[in-house]
Amino acid sequence: MPANGTDAKLGFYDRAYAWLNERFKIDALVEYMGDKKVPVHGHSAFYYFGGISLFLFIVQVITGILLLMYYRPGADTAYESVRFIVSNVQFGWLVRSIHSWSANLMILAVFIHMFTVYFTYAYRKPRELTWLTGIGLLGLSLMFGFSGYLLPWNELAFFATRVGTGMAGAIPVIGRDILVIMRGGEEVTGATIGRFFGLHVAILPGIFTVLLAAHLIFIQRQGMSEPLHWHDRAETDKKYQRFFPSFLLRDLLVWLIVLNVLAILAVLFPDGIGVVHWPLGTKADPFAPPPEVIRPEWYFMFAFQALKMLPAHVLFIEGELFGILVFTVGGVIWALVPFLDRKTGGQKARYYMAFGWLVLAFIIVMTVIGYVLE
């Protein structure tokens, strides 16, 4: 671009940029980002799922704040206030619906993001901490989902929460205490709403933001991971695009499309569709008989189904306890995989790949069984 003569000839944006640059040295930032390169190859599309997760999280924050204006936690008010939001507040139905759709899509995006990272060995050195913070973010997302599900205090949520927290009671020695702490008492009551509400709108967002910041800074410092088969490829055979503006603008493009998909889903299916649904229904009544089918949300289905299918006793321990143990061990291996699997090639790496496919197959099969066979 040829340098222009005087300031007066510059447009508004150029002058604003100059004003900011003088104060914050933005040139350095742009230069830094301009140097960053994103590899272009057959699986490049998966690079966008981290960004999609981030976008959906931002949507969650905005719609969550909007819902907070009218939502009132408590056994006497929670259901009534959600009902008020969807029936009396203008566009309240839209805000609740987008919050619910976005929550489900975010979990989906996070899962896809995680598995693609796993299957491309992108967790390996130097990205161990990126992987760990990512696992932390996944855990927090699941806790967001679990705690948010109860907040409307309807029949569906009440019984799902009772079953969900009940599972914690199966943990030996400390299970009972964990259950009481989670429920705020022996039973799921108005006290439980208070706890879940605090968790959902204050504690989890706080921790999430810190972890998310770390996760993003790590990525910015290290750049995108290159696929394994690039390692022995000549520099000239590698194709890149610039992070700024090429990749960032494409990210923006994807975000816009996701926003549109969200709007379409929220307007056409405000209460969700199929097994992903959240009708307000009737208010929770602890004395009412539980509905015939108590289902957790779809992303807990595999665990729920696996625990249900275990026999009463496995190797002298209670079936449910055995299941929780297996999940814990599996989860720890999954989280520590960057420290266990370090070398490219070799037998060991193939085992970890097989482990990944096994976990994915297990999750898919259990989820399908949970919905189809029950």
Binding site: V86, S87, W93, L94, Q241, R242, P245, S246, L249, R250, L252, L253, L256, I257, L259, N260, A263, I264, V267, L268, P270, D271
Partner: protein, 417 residues
């Protein structure tokens, strides 16, 4: 010691296998049970309320149950054997009219059945005419399989009662000579009461006995009709009794409800019953030139009702469309119930045969129905508004996406150049 315990145990087991009604001492039941098949009296009696209360054959039929030989039993002086058709009422009344005796088994059961039966058409013919075709106790209650009317399998349970009465009253050959027709059950089954009782299992709906009485069964007289129907239809009866029709019907010996609604085939009343057209019930007696205001009033009532019905129907249609579209219709559903009530009340008010009474219900009802219709229509508009909004948002975003895509392509090209 041990052998004695064993012997007693075996006895207890054996006894419980034989069954309680056939306890050791009752030789009648034991023998009859062995030689009779499933339809035999002794088999049925196990299900009979008397059997279940611990009574035995001898409590009705007399004799000594400890005797083995049937001929010896018959020689016992209190042996009563099998009563004839004409003897049955007094045979049952031996216990059922004995308040002290009945008290031991069921203190709440009345003991006036025989007295009532004597007042019934059945009883009068049986005792006065020695008619052995009319119903006695066992015609309705069965023999040896008698059940509490509250039990669903009992022949006198409301749902089964229709067939029980119809056993004789629908049989043209059997009823020949009595001159009362045999179409009652067929008529009742299609009536509003029959449909409610037999199809919807609404035990609040009247069966035969609720209008005719049970033991004192008789057709309600012209004068008692208001009390019989008014038992449930209290408001209608009350309105009628203060209406100009009451003295007119009385003077002409018209039975009050029946004249317009018939008796067994009481169909769900239709608004077309009121009015000036020639199918209207009103037109059977009234004409435009009969010198009364009746014809004009019938016209006004009919018109007011049909206006409310139309408004109600339109509101309901729009409301269900709004419900079907998934809109929040709680408030309108609540108000629509009020319209329902207005329509019920307006139709009830017809029995005052006074235009103002009906108009006092249809007026507010129509206003409410209209507001439900308008508000529900607004909800449907909102539904379309949402889709239109989505359409615009999608359009904007799509334009932006396309423009951004072109921009990105250009920037990339610029960077590569």
């Amino acid at each position: 010691m041990f052998s004695r315990v064993l012997a007693v145990s075996i006895m207890i087991v054996a006894l419980s296998l034989v069954g309680l009604p056939a306890l050791a001492a009752d030789n009648c039941q034991t023998c009859h049970f062995e030689f009779e098949d499933e339809d035999g009296a002794s088999h049925k009696f196990v299900r009979d309320i008397h059997g279940q209360k611990g009574l035995g054959c001898v409590d009705c039929h007399g004799g000594d149950p400890s005797l083995d030989d049937m001929d010896e039993v018959r020689r016992e002086k209190d042996y009563r054997g099998v009563p004839s058709h004409l003897e049955v009422p007094r045979f049952c009344a031996r216990c059922h009219s004995d308040a002290a005796y009945m008290h031991e088994y069921n203190p709440s059961l009345p003991t006036d059945q025989l007295e009532k039966y004597k007042t019934s058409v059945h009883g009068q013919r049986l005792f006065n005419n020695r008619d052995d075709k009319v119903a006695n106790c066992i015609s309705c209650h069965t023999v040896h399989e008698i059940g509490d009317a509250k039990m669903p399998h009992s022949s006198t349970h409301p749902v089964n009662l229709i067939a029980t009465c119809g056993k004789c009253h629908s049989d043209a050959d059997y009823m020949a000579g009595y001159g009362i027709g045999t179409g009652q059950v067929d008529d009742y089954v299609v009536s509003v009461h029959g449909v409610a009782l037999l199809e919807r299992n609404d035990l609040g709906a009247p069966a035969c006995n609720d209008c005719h009485g049970n033991h004192g069964a008789a057709p309600p007289g012209v004068t008692s009709l208001s009390a019989v129907c008014g038992n449930c239809h209290a408001i209608e009866a009350g309105l009628f009794n203060t209406s100009p029709h009451e003295p007119a019907f009385a003077a002409n010996d018209f039975p009050m409800c029946e004249t317009c609604h018939s008796n067994h085939k009481i169909l769900k009343p239709d608004d077309s019953m009121v009015g000036t057209h020639h199918e209207a019930v009103c037109a059977e007696c009234h004409a435009s030139d009969d010198g009364t205001r009746a014809f004009a009033i019938a016209g006004t009532i009919s018109e007011a009702l049909s206006r409310l019905v139309t408004a109600h129907g339109q509101a309901g249609e729009v409301l269900s469309e709004a419900i079907e579209k998934g809109m929040m219709t709680t408030d309108e559903e609540f108000r629509f119930k009020e319209v329902d009530q207005a329509l019920i009340q307006a139709r009830t008010m017809v029995h005052a045969f006074d235009a103002d009474s009906v108009l006092s219900r249809t007026g507010p009802g129509i206003l409410k129905a209209d507001s439900v219709r308008v508000n529900s229509a607004a909800l449907i508009d909102e539904y379309h508004f949402r889709r239109k909004g989505l359409g615009f948002a999608t359009l904007f975003i799509t334009i932006l996406v396309v423009a951004l895509y072109i921009k990105i392509r250009r920037i990339d090209r610029g960077l590569n150049e």
